[in-house]
Structures are given as structure tokens and as C-alpha cells.
């Protein structure tokens, strides 16, 4: 709808004299392929369309339940592949012969979650405890698995897989499922499509098992328990499924065990059992523990459409300029207005906005700004780019400008006050945005308090872009106003080794201690520190000039953790 509205204006601008339009902003257009537009016209998402296609026969004929083609993808070593890829990118690749495992927390200590090839060859088994496996293989290297990161990666891959067919969905923790009905001919047939998918994933460093079958259940079973890139058609479905083990039915492990104890080892065995007997035995079992329903899903007697989630909303506008410009400034306000209007129509606000400038010679420059709170105020978003556009090299000029809200959040309408003032929180968030855009988000910080005895660990300064953390009770003993980071070593004269200092030299100046309070002993945190960490005895002292400092002695003489104790100046009191 938007495209048609803007097209005449664009054409008109393009046809007029470029010298006159040099400073005139060109009307921005929405980037092609915004699914937002389509969704608005249709009024329902993809899941609805997919479900309708399966459930409703359009021409009144009985539906062939095995007419669809479902592709199942299984990533057997997703966590390890991702970790190895990460190490490669960090420039620290894992040697092939090093046994490596990823662990997750279990009820009795960490257990193995993923292993690499060397570890598998050394006999490491998944689900075993790390200590047991270390006993077998002492040089096993163990890292902690990032389960949430793996899940997020799989969700991104799910969206990326829409390059092959439009309906894709997550399938468990390590799988994807795609409804590729009618899409395979675009890739030269099913076999060629499967090869293409496998190749693309292999280039990313991910190994995957693939299969195509008429139902989700059959495709799942073939991808996990079948051959290489197997395809199966409706007529031979029952025959192909018969030799597969019952674990291929997507059943819970205890149900699989039960079936094996009953002597039903394969799908064929289960299919041979009278239907009535199975229905009576598993009448109240939920889907994951009900072999009959799973069997029906596999054979197409029970519909199981691919529930594909909608594309995330994408907000991007562009200005295609009739003539290259050196200074993109005059074109930005119109782009920002259009983007913010689109965001407002969907009830969203931008957390991150990316401006991309395409040069005539093919170079691309991108600038990105972030906001502390979701915003759709065009003037504010534009202000964040202020002063950063000058640093771009225009070369022979830019001919395409795009502005994209790359991270968006829901943002409700807020009533402004009658005198036009914005509320305090918004004003503060905008100040943080402006400062972050200029100095970098890591320079604008707020204290994040952590319950710790060690003074420098108690407060960590974290970016003000994330919401403020909670508060802690103030410590009972006096604390200095300033902390030196790191503490500076001083040379100290003392009467007794465990006593307070009498005189110390700091920054080449001698200070005489007139009064002192302490010591206050702070022991190392054994759960976070190295075993050789030493305790600290803090003294609050006053010098002959009236200045008050916070000193500490690290360790005790003869505590067996290093040489004689060293002294440090850590803080300054008011």
C-alpha cells in the first residue's frame, strides 16, 4: 500500500532536474519485503495460513493426508559445533586430538552435555558425571555449556531456513522442521534441496541430518534413525517405517522402555498390535507418552501441521536518491519521520537504529545508535547521529540511504503533560542516549551492587543502558569515598609486624600516621578466589596533614602464602 503511495513522488523526483533537487529530501519508501505490510493486509499470520491449508480442503474433494512434504533437520552436535566455531572465531581453535566436553549442572554435580570427536573416541558418554569421566580420561577439558545461547541460535537458524521454504518451526532442542511442500522444485528437486541445505550448514560448521517424508513424525524418525538425506513418499511410508525402533516415535524414554519390555521393539511390531488394545492401554496418556497417537501422526492419520511463527516485525525505510549526494543530512529527517510513523502504527519503539549509506562505488558504511528506553521520537533518534556523520568518507557520494530499527520493543502510547513536558524518566533516558552515542555505551555507567565483602567486588559499574539494579544494605564499618583501582603499593614502617603502620611512603612522599582505627580483617572469598589469595587487614588512618586514608596489609607474616606481607593504599576518606 505504501509503495503505491510513494511511487509517483519518487518518479517525479527522479525525473526533475537533479541540480534543483540537490538539497531537497527525497520521499522515503519502505524497504521491499516488509512482512509487516503483508500481515496487515491479510490480517492473520503464517500459522493460520498453514493450519488452514492442512485442515480445509478447498475443492470439496477428500484430502490426501500424505500429500505434504515435511523436511526435518536434526543437529546432533549443535552445542559442540557452536562452541568450536566460537573458539575458531576467537583465534583460539581447539586441537582435534584434545578431548573436550561441555557440561551442565546435574543433581549430583556437573554432567556431560556435549563432547567432541576425540572425547567420544576416548569413551566419554553423554549424561555421565564429569568426575566419573575425568577418572577415565584425566586430560578431558570441560567447559560449561551455554544452553540459552544454543536455543537462541536455533531460533535464528529457524528464521534463516526460510530461504528454502516459507514455513519453518523449531522442533525440540536440536531440531528444525520445514513444510517444503511445493518449494523443492525451486532448488532442483528434493535431493538437490537436501544437498544444498546440508552444504550451507556445513559451511557454517554445523553438521545436520536431514530427511523428507509426508508427515512430521516420519520425517523426524528418518532424520534421527534413517539413512543419509533420505526421502520417503506416501505409498512406501508404512513399509519404510516398520524396521525403525520405537524410539523413532518421539516418545518419552520411560514409554520407550515400557514398549521394549513388552517386546515391541520396532514400529512395525507396534503397528501389528490391534489398535483397540493400544487405545485401551494408553487411553489417558498425554501425547508424548502415547504410542498410538504418535503412530497415527507418523502415518498421517492424525493431522500435525507445521506451526510456523510469524517473522519478527522489521522496520526499515530507504531513500533512493536520483543523484549521489556528499552530505546525507537533509535526507535523514524524512526517513526518521517515516520510520517513526511506521513504529507508531505498530505500537513499537526502537532500541537500536542503524543508518546504512551505500556509496556509488559499492562501499557500504553503517552507523548504529542505541537507546536506553524504546523510543519513536524522530528528533531524538536523529540527534543521536549528530556529529558522527561527518566522520564518514563520502567518496563520490551516496545514492541509497536506509534507516532501520534493528531492535524494537513494544512501546505503549503515553499521554504527554499539558505543558508539553516529558516525564523525568524519559528525559533521563534521552540524556543517557545522547552521552552513549558520543562516548560509547560502556562509558556511561551505573553502580551494580553485589553482595560481597571485598570492597572492589561489592560495586561493579555497568552500562546505564540496562535498567538499574537493586540496592544493598550499607556496610557496617566506615568505607572511603574514593577507591583506587588498582590499590597502590606503599612502603611502610611499623612497630610490630601485625600492628598498624607508623609511617608510610606513597607516591614518593612520606606520611606520618597520627591516628588509626582498625584492623578490620577481610578474608578472601574461598568460593571465588584462588586458593593462594591472602587476607587483608584494613586500617583507617589519619596523617600528620589531616588527610584520611584506607590502608591494608595483604597477608600475615608466615601464613605460608608467599613472602613477607605487602602494604597497599586502597581508598581515601573525606
Amino acid at each position: 500500500m505504501r509503495h503505491e503511495d510513494k511511487l509517483p513522488v519518487l518518479l517525479q523526483t527522479a525525473l526533475s532536474d537533479p541540480r534543483q533537487t540537490g538539497a531537497q529530501p527525497v520521499a522515503p519508501a519502505w524497504r521491499a519485503g516488509t512482512d509487516m505490510d503483508r500481515a496487515r493486509q491479510q490480517g492473520r499470520g503464517r500459522a493460520g495460513v498453514a493450519a488452514g491449508a492442512v485442515a480445509l480442503p478447498t475443492d470439496g474433494l477428500p484430502r490426501d493426508p500424505l500429500a505434504r512434504r515435511i523436511t526435518a533437520l536434526h543437529f546432533p552436535t549443535l552445542a559442540m559445533d557452536r562452541y568450536l566455531r566460537h573458539r575458531d572465531r576467537m583465534g583460539n581453535p581447539v586441537p582435534d586430538d584434545l578431548p573436550l566436553a561441555l557440561a551442565v549442572d546435574g543433581p549430583h554435580g556437573p554432567i556431560l552435555h556435549a563432547t567432541n570427536r576425540a572425547a567420544r573416541l576416548a569413551g566419554m558418554r553423554l549424561g555421565e558425571r564429569v568426575v566419573d569421566m575425568r577418572a577415565l580420561c584425566p586430560d578431558l577439558q570441560v567447559e560449561f555449556a551455554d544452553i540459552a545461547g544454543d536455543r537462541a541460535m536455533l531460533a535464528r537458524l529457524m528464521l534463516w531456513c526460510r530461504r528454502w521454504c516459507p514455513w519453518t518451526a523449531l522442533d525440540g532442542e536440536t531440531g528444525l522442521v520445514m513444510d517444503s511442500t511445493g518449494s523443492d522444485h525451486l532448488w532442483g528437486g528434493e535431493a538437490a534441496m537436501l544437498r544444498d541445505i546440508e552444504e550451507k550448514f556445513a559451511l557454517m560448521g554445523l553438521s545436520c541430518d536431514l530427511a523428507i517424508a509426508p508427515t512430521h513424525g516420519a520425517a523426524w524418525a528418518l532424520s534421527r534413525h534413517g539413512g543419509l538425506r533420505e526421502t520417503c513418499h506416501g505409498p512406501e511410508l508404512a513399509q519404510r517405517m516398520a524396521p525403525l525402533p520405537v524410539a523413532a516415535l518421539r516418545l518419552a524414554p520411560d514409554t520407550v522402555l515400557l514398549l521394549q519390555r513388552l517386546g515391541l521393539k520396532t514400529v512395525g511390531d507396534l503397528a501389528a498390535v490391534p489398535r483397540r488394545a493400544l487405545a485401551r492401554r494408553f487411553a489417558r496418556a498425554p501425547l508424548g507418552q502415547n504410542p498410538l497417537m504418535r503412530l497415527d501422526q507418523m502415518m498421517g492419520r492424525l493431522a500435525e501441521p507445521v506451526q510456523s511463527p510469524d517473522d519478527p516485525p522489521r522496520f526499515a525505510v530507504q531513500s533512493r536518491l536520483p543523484e549521489p549526494v556528499i552530505d546525507p543530512d537533509p535526507h535523514l529527517p524524512a526517513l526518521a519521520q517515516e520510520l517513526c510513523a511506521g513504529l507508531a502504527a505498530e505500537g513499537m519503539g526502537a532500541r537500536r537504529v542503524t543508518l546504512t549509506l551505500y556509496r556509488t562505488d559499492g562501499e557500504v558504511a553503517a552507523l548504529s545508535v542505541a537507546t536506553a528506553r524504546a523510543s519513536r521520537d524522530a528528533a531524538h533518534l536523529l540527534g543521536l547521529f549528530e556529529g558522527r556523520l561527518e566522520r564518514l568518507d563520502p567518496g563520490f557520494g551516496f545514492d541509497l540511504i536506509t534507516l532501520e530499527a534493528s531492535v524494537v520493543e513494544a512501546l505503549d502510547m503515553v499521554q504527554t503533560r499539558i505543558d508539553g513536558h516529558v516525564d523525568g524518566e524519559t528525559e533521563l533516558a534521552r540524556l543517557i542516549d545522547r552521552l552513549s552515542a558520543r562516548f560509547g555505551a560502556d562509558r556511561i555507567t551505573r553502580p551494580a551492587l553485589k553482595d560481597s565483602h571485598i570492597p572492589e567486588r561489592r560495586e561493579r559499574w555497568q552500562s546505564a543502558m540496562v535498567p538499574a539494579a537493586g540496592t544493598l544494605a550499607p556496610p557496617r564499618r566506615p568505607r572511603p569515598l574514593r577507591l583506587l583501582d588498582p590499590p597502590e603499593e606503599i612502603r611502610v614502617l611499623y612497630a610490630v609486624p601485625e600492628g598498624p603502620p607508623v609511617q608510610f611512603t606513597w607516591r614518593r612522599l612520606a606520611h606520618k600516621v597520627t591516628r588509626f582505627a582498625g584492623p578490620e580483617r577481610i578474608a578472601p572469598e574461598w568460593w571465588a578466589d584462588r586458593p593462594s589469595a591472602r587476607l587483608r587487614d584494613y586500617y583507617r588512618i589519619e596523617t600528620q596533614h589531616g588527610r584520611r586514608y584506607w590502608l591494608y596489609r595483604e597477608g600475615l607474616a608466615g601464613d605460608g602464602r608467599g613472602g613477607p606481607p605487602r602494604w597497599f593504599l586502597h581508598g581515601v576518606f573525606a
Partner: protein, 225 residues
Amino acid sequence: MRCAPPAPKTAAQLLSDRATDTVGAADSPTLTEIFAENASDGGPLGFLLAQIDPACGPVLWISDRLSRQESGRLCIAGLPRPLEVIAVDVNRPLDVLWAMEQGLGCGVLGAVVGEIWGDPPQLDFTATKRLALRAEAHGVAAWLIRRAANPNLSAARKRWRVASLAALPDPDDSRAPGAPLWQATLFRSRWGAPGDWVARPTAQGGLHLDHRVEADAALPRAAEH
């Protein structure tokens, strides 16, 4: 509770305000400079924090690299009153001035504090005048902490020089330092007479100024060692 941000005033309004109401003007938020006698002294900081009211809103705390390196970072556990702090760590004194100007335009802030090391050429009369006018227009107090600096030409409305004095005796421990005392010299003031005081924080965290003679008479001095 937050103070409501007042509407920005025009220059003419400000002039007439100052001409008619000199008493009120002395207390209204403005630009104040505090010079530290010694760069590693914590006294000027305590003197400043005693004058910031946490109820007025969060504090934007901007420091340049040398200040952080030489005199450390703010420690939240040691603040006399709980204060919401947003720290801005920049490298150059020029960035401190820019960030202060941005912060002074935001009426919800309680105060904007800038720490500048030495005498950078950018911190001249014009720069301080801009800060002072902006602070007065938006009603946000601006504070400059100057370390290792000379009091050159500046438009700051109040200029203090602060040093630590030997603390009061601790009532519980005769060998320990108690509540702090500071020597505060107001050597330039737009709306009041300059003077020399002995300052100390009150029990509520505010500031109490005594003349030196009174302080000597009223407060028992610490035993000389």
C-alpha cells in the same frame, strides 16, 4: 520524591531576578568550583557531597581520565547519604565540559559534577560562563572539582578552596579519627562575602560552617601527637 524541573528562564528574567532578589539568588543552583589543596585529599569531595541533596534527583558524575587515575573512583558504600549516581568516564577535559552541558539541560538531575585535572586551556572564562548560565537557567546545580589546578579566570559564582583538617576525636576510641573537619575558604563569591570557615558534616549529612575561632572554642581539638 523528586523536585519538579522548573521551566528554563530567559536571560532577561535571570538578570531581573538577580537584581531584585539577592538573598534567593545566593541559594539557587549555580556553578560552583572547588579547588583541592592536595590532589589526593578526600576533603573536597566530602565537602561537596555534604551539599548535594539526594532528594533532588540523580547525580551525573563526569570525570576525566587523569582524575580517575590519580584520585580513584567514587565508592558508593562510602557516600554519606544514599545517592543515585550515573558515572560518565571520558578521556579529555573537553568531553567533560560537553557532557556537563548536556547534563545541565536535563532538569530531572539533582546535580552535575565534573572532575577536571590541571588547567586545560579549554576551561576558560567562556566555558565556565556557559556552564553557569545553563545551570541557572535549568535550575540544576553544577560543581567543578579542580585538582592540581590554579584558580585562573572563571565565571563560577562561588569558588572554594578546601583542605582536610585533623578530625574530631572519636568518642569511642581515643586513638582513632572521628568525624571529619575541613578548612573551607570561599575566595570568590558573586552574592556574598568571601570568608574562611571550618566545615563539618552534620548528623543528617548536611554541611555546617563555623568560624575558626568559634570552632576552636566549641569543638575540643584532637590531641596533638
